[in-house]
Amino acid sequence: MFRSSSARTAADSAANAPIPDSGEVPALSVPEQIVEIVSDSGEGAQTAGQIFGTVCAKMGNGLWTVEIIPAEIEPPARSRAGASGIRIRFGTKPVASMGDQADLVVAFNEQVLYSRIDQGALRPGTLLLIDDKWSASDDPKTREAYQKALEDFHIAGYIVREIPIHAETHELTDNPQRGKNMWVVGLLCALYSRDLDLAKREVQLLFQRKRKGEDVIALNHKLLDAGHAWAVEHIDARFEVPSETHSEPMVVMNGNAAIALGAMAAGIEVCSMYPITPATSASHYLAADFHHAGGIVHQAEDEIAAVGFAIGASFAGKTALTITSGPGMALKSEFLGLSVMAEVPLVVVDVQRGGPATGLPTKVEQGDLLSSVFGQPGDAPKVVMAPSSHEECFHFMVTARKLAESFRTPVFVLSDANLATAQACLPRPNVSEEWLSPPIDQSPWKEGAPAYGWDPETGISRRPIPGQPGGAFVLTGLAHDEYSHIAYESSINQRAMNMRSRKFAALQTALKPPEIYGEEEGDLLVVGWGSTRGAIEEAVDRIRRDGHRVGSVCLRFLSPLEPGLDEIFRRYRRVMTVEINYSDDVADLGRAGERRYSQLAWLLRATTLVDVDCWSRVPGQPLPPQMIEEALRSRLEGAESCTD
C-alpha cells in the first residue's frame, strides 16, 4: 500500500546493515528524507529539529518542518497524548509540504511513538531510534511497557534500534533531559553527512538570542560533538541528500515569522493583538524587534479591544494590523463589520485552527473561509486573501496593506497552523522603500469635500484623517451618505451599499485568472487554497505520471474571487476542491442534495454554477500528499465507471 521510492529502499537497507565497526562509511544518496524527533513535552525536540532543518537548508536542501504539539503545556510524561516533537522533511528539490510517512524517527521514549502510529506517520521499514534508558528503569511497569512496545513495533514492521541517548548525555550533564536534544542533532549530522560546524553556529545564535552565557553554549557544543562521535563509532549508515546551489539569497523561517517580517516590510506601525494559539508567535516576533522599525505591539485586554485599538489607530492615519485565530475572529466580528461600513483600512491576519468554539487550538484547519467572507451581519464585503507559502505570507502582508488603503477596506489574510509553525526556505525578499510610504494622501483636504466621495465607477474614495483642516467628519457605523451623515432617507442606504460593493468588482478587474498547475484541460481539476498547495501539487504530479490528465489551481483571492474560474472549470470533466475543513462524504448520505460541501466548494458552486465536488478531511494535521492522491484516484475511477 505504500509507494516505493529510492529514499525508502536506501533507509531500509542501511538500517538493516550491521551496526558496530568504525571507519569511513560510504553515504547512500537519496533525493529526500523525512526525519522526526519525538519526545515528551519540554525536552527540546522542536529546537533540535529547527537547528537540524536550518543546517540542511544552509547546505542547499529544500526544507519543510512540521511541529508536533500536544494540547497541554505539561502533559504527563511518557503518555501517548503528550507526544511533542517535530518532523523535518528535506530534499534536493524545494519542499512544499510535510510529505507522507517518516523514514527515520528518533524517540526519547517509546510511548510517544504510538501517537505517531495513530497519526499514520510511520510505515513498515521506518527506522526507529529509541532511547534505551527505559529498559533499565527502576519501575517494572515501565520496563514492561518498553518491552511490549518494542515487540509491537517489530510486529508492525518498523526497524527498531535502541540507542543510549540518555546515558551518553548524562556523561556530559547532570540534567540530561535538557541536553538530549543537542546530542541527537549531533547524531543526525553524522547520519546525514551534515556540517557539524553549521549546527554549532546555529546553537550559538540560539543561546545568544536567549541571553545565555558562554558556558551554556560550550556545553551544548560538547553535546553536539558527543552525539556525532557516538554515531560515527556505532552506526555504519550514512545518507546524503544532494543539494542544489540556490541561485539567490535564501532565508529560513516559519510562516508566522514571515507574517511578522511582512508586517514590518509593509510599513505597519501598530500590531494590536490578544494572545491566541496558533497566531500569537507572530506577535512575539514583532514584540521582540518591531521597535527597531518604529512599530509597537499592543496587547489589548481582549480580542474586541485589540481590533478596536487597531481601527482607532487606522482612523488616526496609522497603518494597523490585528492578528488572531478563529475564536478571535468571532469576537472581533462586530468591529470588522464597522471597518467595512465606515471604510477603515485594516489588515487582519487569521491563523486558522480547528473550530468551531475552542476546537483544536494547536492544530490546522481551513475552517474560517466562509465566516471570513460572510461572517458579519448585513452585507459586509471585504478582501479575503490566503497565502499558500511562506513567501506569500511575507509578501501578502505588503499587498494587504496596499489594498486596505487603496480600497478603504479591511483585508483578511487567512494563514493556518500549518504555515504558522512550519519552517521553510524562501528567497530573501528584496525590500522596497516604497512599501513603507505613509498611508495617507498628504495633500490638503478641499474644504467641504465629502468624507466618502465615492467614485461612481469604482466606489473608491479618498479619506480625510484627523489633523487635516477642512476634513473633519464623524465616522459612524450607522448607514450614512457620502458626507457620513446618518441616512434618514431610504435611498441613501441602497446607494451606499452599492458603492461599498462596487470596490470589490473594481478590484476583481485588476486580478488575473489563477495559474494552472499540470494539465490545462482534461479529466480532473483540483481547486485548493492556502497551505494545502504543496501537497495537492505533489499528489497531482504522482497521478499525472500514471497518464491521467489532471490539473490544479490554488486560489490566493477568496473575496473577490480571481476572475475566469468558470471558463477554466469547463475545460475539465470534473472539478473538485481539496480542503482541510468538514464536508459530508456522498456515500454517507441518502441523497446527494443533502450533502454539506466543504467551504470553498460552497463558494465556487454558488459563484460559477459548476457542479464542483469536494474531498475534505479534518484530521488536525496537514493533509499528506498520499491521502490526497488516494482521494483523487478514487474520483477519477468514479468518473470512469460513472457510479458516483
Binding site: 532565508v251 517580517l261 518604529g294 481601527i311 484627523p466 476634513g471 464623524v474
Partner: protein, 317 residues
C-alpha cells in the same frame, strides 16, 4: 460673532476659533435632556482652550450620549456599543498631537463596555472621558441600567430592578493606576465646566462621571437634589476642582478633600450624607501607557529599512 466671516484671515496669523466653529449638526436629544448642557460646556472648553477642530477627536459608543460627536464640529468616531475606549486608545496611541474626548453612557461604559473601562483607566492614556450617567437606557426605550437604583421600574424590570447599582466612582477608584476621577452634575454649568477644564488639563486619563437628567424616562430623578443643593456635598481643595466663590455659595454642604488621599476618596465615594461632586482622586505621576505607544513615531524610512534588513540577515542561510 453673527455675520462675521473668518476666511479673510491670512494663514500667517493664528486663527481664533469661535464657539460657532465647534457647532456640528443640530442636537437631536430630547428637550430638557442633560446632554445639551454638557455639549455646551465642551464647546466652550474647546473655544477657551482654542483647540483646533481638526486636531480634536470625539469618540463615542452607542446610546443617547454617544450621539455627542455628531454635534461637535471636529473629527468624530461614533462606533460600536461599549467600544469607545479601545478606539480612543488607538486614536491616541500614535497621535500625541490630538485632543481626545470620549462620550459614553452608563450602559455603554458600565455594562457592555466594562472590560474596556477598567483597562482604559489602567492604561492612563491622555484623554477626557465623560460618563453621562442618567441611570437608564434611553435610546432603546427605558431598560434598567447598571446604575439604576434598586427597585426602580423599567421595561425590563416592571416590578423594580433587583440589585443595587454599580458605583462607577468606587469602581474606578479601585483600579490600579487610576489618575483622575471626578464627579459633577449637568445642571450646574459652572461646576460642570470647571470639572471638564480640569480634566482637559490633566496629564493622563481623566474620568468624569456626570449625573445627567433624562426627563423622558427618569423624570424627577435628580429633582430633589437640584431643588435642595444641601443634598450635594461639594468637595473642595486647592488641588481639586476650582470654582469661584459665587458657585461655592450655592452649596452649604462642603468638605475639603485632598485628592491625593485615595482612602478618603473611597470613603467619600460611598458617602451616605450627600452626593459628592468635585475631584475624588488625582495622581499626575501615574504611569502613562501612551508614553510607550508613541515610541518610534518619528522613525525614518531609512531606519526602518535597516531594521528590516537586519532582521532578514538573522534568517538568511
Amino acid at each position: 460673532m453673527y455675520g462675521l466671516k473668518t476666511d479673510w484671515i491670512d494663514e500667517s496669523i493664528p486663527r481664533y476659533y469661535t464657539f460657532e466653529d465647534y457647532e456640528g449638526a443640530t442636537a437631536r436629544w430630547c428637550s430638557g435632556c442633560g446632554d445639551h448642557g454638557v455639549l455646551t460646556a465642551v464647546q466652550r472648553l474647546c473655544r477657551d482652550e482654542q483647540l483646533p477642530p481638526e486636531k480634536t477627536v470625539f469618540v463615542s459608543g452607542i446610546g443617547c450620549a454617544s450621539r455627542f460627536p455628531h454635534y461637535v464640529k471636529a473629527y468624530g468616531f461614533h462606533g460600536l456599543h461599549g467600544r469607545a475606549l479601545p478606539v480612543a486608545c488607538g486614536v491616541r496611541a500614535r497621535r500625541p498631537d490630538l485632543h481626545v474626548f470620549v462620550a459614553t453612557g452608563d450602559g455603554d461604559c458600565c455594562s457592555i463596555g466594562t472590560a474596556h473601562w477598567i483597562h482604559a483607566i489602567r492604561y492612563n492614556m491622555k484623554m477626557v472621558v465623560m460618563l453621562l450617567d442618567n441611570n437608564v437606557y434611553g435610546l432603546t426605550k427605558n431598560q434598567t441600567s447598571p446604575t439604576s437604583k434598586k427597585g426602580s421600574s423599567s421595561n425590563t424590570h416592571p416590578g423594580g430592578s433587583l440589585l443595587d447599582p454599580i458605583n462607577p466612582i468606587q469602581a474606578s477608584l479601585g483600579i490600579a493606576n487610576a489618575s483622575f476621577i471626578a464627579q459633577t452634575v449637568d445642571w450646574n454649568p459652572a461646576h460642570l465646566f470647571a470639572t471638564l477644564a480640569a480634566a482637559h488639563r490633566h496629564p493622563g486619563f481623566a474620568f468624569v462621571r456626570i449625573l445627567q437628567r433624562c426627563p423622558h424616562f427618569k423624570s424627577g430623578l435628580f429633582e430633589s437634589m437640584m431643588n435642595d443643593p444641601s443634598q450635594v456635598l461639594l468637595m473642595t481643595h486647592p488641588d481639586g476642582i476650582e470654582v469661584d466663590a459665587a458657585v461655592k455659595k450655592q452649596f452649604e454642604n462642603q468638605r475639603e478633600h485632598d485628592p491625593s488621599d485615595l482612602a478618603e476618596a473611597r470613603a467619600l465615594a460611598d458617602s451616605q450624607d450627600g452626593t459628592p461632586i468635585g475631584l475624588f482622586y488625582r495622581n499626575d505621576s501615574a504611569d502613562r501607557y501612551d508614553a510607550f505607544t508613541v515610541e518610534g513615531i518619528a522613525t525614518s524610512r531609512d531606519t526602518k529599512l535597516r531594521a528590516l534588513e537586519t532582521q532578514l540577515d538573522r534568517y538568511q542561510i
